[in-house]
């Protein structure tokens, strides 16, 4: 996932430059939402301008035509689970709504049968 966003960063064009301009030009909403969000996403996204249209991130399941998301497929599910075990929101992964819902259901089923942890890192 981090590799994907860094590869797409050159497409949106100089994210570093956009970040600094976003923070400067957005007086009220910029530093509040753009600052921590920009810092939290290393090398990806259209910087501090929160309202801008995000680069077209495609749903992995729609492109690869994966119909079923079984709870047994841990390797597939782990791509959508963060380090601490939390489910990654679809605005970061680019998954479409139907598949995100199915994915969530599968992850929760996998958590129940101890294939995925509920929370890691004490």
């Amino acid at each position: 996932m981090p590799e994907e966003t860094q590869a797409k960063a050159p497409d949106s064009g100089a994210p570093q430059g956009q970040q600094s301009s976003g923070q400067g030009s957005g007086p009220g909403s910029g530093p509040g939402t753009g600052g921590p969000r920009g810092a939290g996403r290393p090398g990806g996204g259209p910087g501090g301008r929160g309202k801008f249209f995000r680069r077209k991130k495609v749903c992995k399941f729609c492109t690869e035509k994966i119909d079923a998301i079984p709870y047994r497929d841990v390797r597939l599910l782990q791509q959508f689970v963060a380090e601490r075990g939390k489910i990654v929101p679809r605005r970061l992964t680019g998954v479409c709504t139907t598949h995100q819902r199915r994915l969530t259901r599968a992850i929760k089923q996998a958590r129940n049968i101890a294939l995925l942890p509920f929370a890691t890192r004490h």
Binding site: Q109, I113, A114, L115, P117
Partner: protein, 139 residues
């Protein structure tokens, strides 16, 4: 009305292989006695658990695919709950999912057939016309 279910359960790691087989046989007979069928038994082997379950760090995973009615599954779940070596189980209903997948596959099959025929008719025709045109253009 028979429905398709997937039952996955975890057996304690300190159980012998034959005991696990005995357990599975016991569950299978309870399903068949209730009028259901056991479609497949898959022993997924020993895996490390994502968190401690009854102080065990790993367990023996078993997957049973069953076609049965509701009360049979209820009885199976009751048995799983009572059996001491089984530390966790989950039952997932699969028939709606299977219906949906079959529908998608059928849709894909018909789509491909419709698009295959005109392409096949065009392909032999197109090279024939293309071959004649550049000859005329060259002249």
């Amino acid at each position: 009305m028979s429905r398709l279910y997937e039952v996955m359960f975890i057996v304690r790691p300190d159980m012998a292989e034959e005991d696990v087989d005995k357990l599975i046989a016991g569950f299978s007979t309870s399903v068949t006695n209730g009028g259901g069928t056991v479609k497949s038994v898959e022993k997924m082997g020993r895996r490390k658990l994502a968190y401690l379950v009854r102080k065990f760090a790993d367990g023996n995973y078993v997957l049973l695919t069953i076609e049965a009615s509701g009360p049979v599954v209820l009885e199976l779940e009751r048995r799983l709950r009572v059996t001491e070596p089984v530390i966790k189980f989950i039952t997932v209903r699969m028939d709606e999912e299977e219906k949906r997948l079959a529908k998608i596959k059928a849709l894909r099959g018909t789509r491909r057939k419709m698009s295959a025929e005109p392409v096949a008719a065009e392909a032999p025709a197109a090279p024939a016309t293309e071959a004649t045109e550049p000859a005329q253009a060259a002249v």
